[in-house]
């Protein structure tokens, strides 16, 4: 009987640190790192047009191709820039793969990619960017096109 009582005490002392640790208030979990800001590209041109009409926002169409090195450079260097992402929020941005939707490229007179077409909410063309642009140049063109889109 005495042996049994001692065993219980030993077991209790052994478990004590674990109980203390477990009963301590939990540390707040580290916050997940927010993803870098990115343009919320739509993948359907038709849906983007509908959305633009509904929200009365202009449309920014990126005509690109997988094999187009300047297009990839736009994706990697220009579009992730904070100023571009911020400016894109005024737009309904949509990406169009010209190999998969050549008729859309033809509609806007694409000669050589990359080309960014800025459209009013009703789909009419405001302006076009016909080659690679760095963030400063793109933002400037986006701002000018946006201003035009607001004029009646």
């Amino acid at each position: 009987m005495k042996i049994k009582s001692v065993s219980w005490r030993v077991a209790a002392y052994a478990l004590l640190p674990a109980i203390i640790v477990l009963s301590a208030p939990a540390k707040p979990a580290p916050k997940a790192k927010a993803p870098p800001p990115a343009i919320a590209w739509r993948s359907s041109f038709a849906t983007a047009l509908q959305e633009a009409r509904r929200l009365n926002k202009p449309i920014m169409v990126d005509l690109w191709a997988t094999w187009c090195s300047p297009c990839r450079a736009m994706d990697e260097r220009t579009y992730p820039q904070t100023a571009v992402v911020r400016e894109s929020r005024k737009w309904v941005p949509v990406k169009v793969d010209i190999d998969k939707q050549p008729e859309i490229a033809a509609r806007y007179g694409l000669k050589m990619p990359p080309m960014v077409v800025f459209l009013r909410a009703d789909g009419t063309v405001i302006s076009k960017l016909t080659d690679y642009a760095d963030a400063a140049r793109l933002v400037k063109q986006m701002q000018a096109a946006y201003a035009k889109s607001r004029r009646k």
Partner: protein
């Protein structure tokens, strides 16, 4: 392409055939001088237009030593289709029945206009064809899409099974070039880079056959300057009468210096010299192509820079046999046109040059064609014209007729 000497009766038949078929193709607005003293019903226009037969696009033509016209063209969906071959002897009015060049269906591509097939005539008038394979086209090789090759058999009844010429240098995009000589050399050049690499990192490669296309050597890098290469641009090659190999491609230094470049080899592709023909700074994919043609003493190149067509004679820098080759004075095609692209050039027996090109084409959009004839001193003549009729993903080809006229195929 070679110049041929034919009898007068043969060229009369040629002229009539070219006129009849050309007239049926499209309405040309030509400013060519009419020849008043010949019967209208048999007189071929100096520049006869010929619509690609069988509803095909992207014609590529070559003449053999007997004056037979060999023509390939594309049919099918833009992303995957077939290359067909027809021929016409000098005394025939109609083309032969089409033969499919690719033995595996849908292994060629038309989209972009600059990935299509090219044709050349080699030893014993053997017809050689090369084209960019589609995604998944067989036989596959290193780095994705293959460079596919075939030649016509000796009885002209079928093409050999298609082969992939890439053994290690894969990652193609814009189309390959092919050239051959009478000694049994066949050269195929392309540019490539591993997926995802910038154009500035692309490299130009060459493989050579020494047995008239039966076997090919392992490809090797040939651009002696690290110029990069414009991924979306097609190349062109020619072996001149002296055996010098000329190859045109577009560079991509820093991804924006998309200059037209000339590679020249006087030792059957063992070593090359490099020259910049024309500078063009552009941060986009111009989707361009080239032309090369030869008369008795002159090789002439044609190319696009900034939506205009230029041409010039390739010459040695000095009166030294081994001096580098270049084009000292590029000449612009006369007049203005919207988005001039895809030049073709061919000399006739008299040393006159036909230069032609497309206008107003775009992505998934056809356009028109225009041409200019130059006299043997290189001066533009009154013979020039313009016509509608370039289909979507279309370009041109041309041959010289034995009577001194030209056939412009669209």
């Amino acid at each position: 392409m070679r110049q041929v000497n034919l009898t007068r009766s043969r060229f009369a038949a040629w002229a009539v055939a070219g006129f009849v078929i050309g007239s049926s193709g499209c309405a040309a607005q030509t400013e060519a001088v009419a020849q008043d003293d010949a019967p209208a019903q048999v007189e071929a226009p100096r520049v006869a237009l010929l619509k690609t037969p069988d509803g095909g696009i992207q014609p590529q033509a070559a003449l053999d030593s007997k004056g037979v016209l060999h023509l390939i063209y594309y049919k099918g969906k833009p992303m995957a289709g077939d290359v067909f071959y027809v021929r016409r002897k000098p005394d025939e009015a109609a083309f032969s029945a089409p033969l499919r060049v690719n033995d595996r269906p849908d292994s060629a591509i038309a989209m972009g206009t600059i990935r299509g097939a090219q044709i050349t005539i080699g030893q014993n008038d053997r017809v050689h064809v090369v084209w960019n394979g589609t995604n998944g086209a067989e036989p596959q090789g290193a780095g994705g899409n293959p460079i596919l090759y075939s030649h016509l058999n000796d009885t002209s009844t079928a093409f050999a099974p298609q082969r992939n010429l890439i053994t290690w240098a894969g990652g193609i995009d814009g189309g390959a070039a092919i050239a051959a000589d009478a000694k049994g050399h066949v050269y195929v050049a392309w540019h490539a880079a591993p997926a995802g690499q910038e154009d500035a990192a692309r490299v130009v490669y060459l493989t050579r056959s020494n047995d008239n296309g039966d076997t090919f050597e392992r490809e090797k890098k040939i651009n002696v300057q690290p110029t990069g290469a414009c991924a979306c641009c097609q190349m062109r090659a020619l072996v001149d009468a002296k055996g010098t190999l000329h190859i045109l491609y577009r560079a991509a230094g820093d991804n924006v210096n998309r200059d037209s470049m000339l590679l020249t080899s006087r030792d059957a592709g063992r070593s090359f010299q490099s020259a910049t023909l024309h500078k063009w700074k552009i941060a986009a994919c111009p989707m361009s192509s080239y032309a090369l043609t030869e008369s008795d003493e002159t090789v002439r190149a044609a190319w696009e820079t900034n939506e205009q067509i230029f041409h010039g004679a390739i010459q040695s820098e000095a009166a030294v046999q081994a001096a580098p080759m270049k084009i000292p004075t590029p000449v612009a095609a006369p007049g203005n046109g919207d988005n001039r692209k895809h030049p073709v050039a061919v000399f006739n027996v008299g040393g006159e040059l036909l230069l032609a090109w497309t206008e107003s084409t775009g992505w998934n959009k056809g356009g028109s064609l225009a041409w200019q004839v130059y006299d043997k001193e290189g001066r533009p003549t009154p013979e020039k014209g313009r016509a509608e009729g370039v289909p979507v993903w279309g370009l041109l080809s041309a041959i010289a007729r034995p009577d001194g006229g030209f056939v412009l195929i669209h």
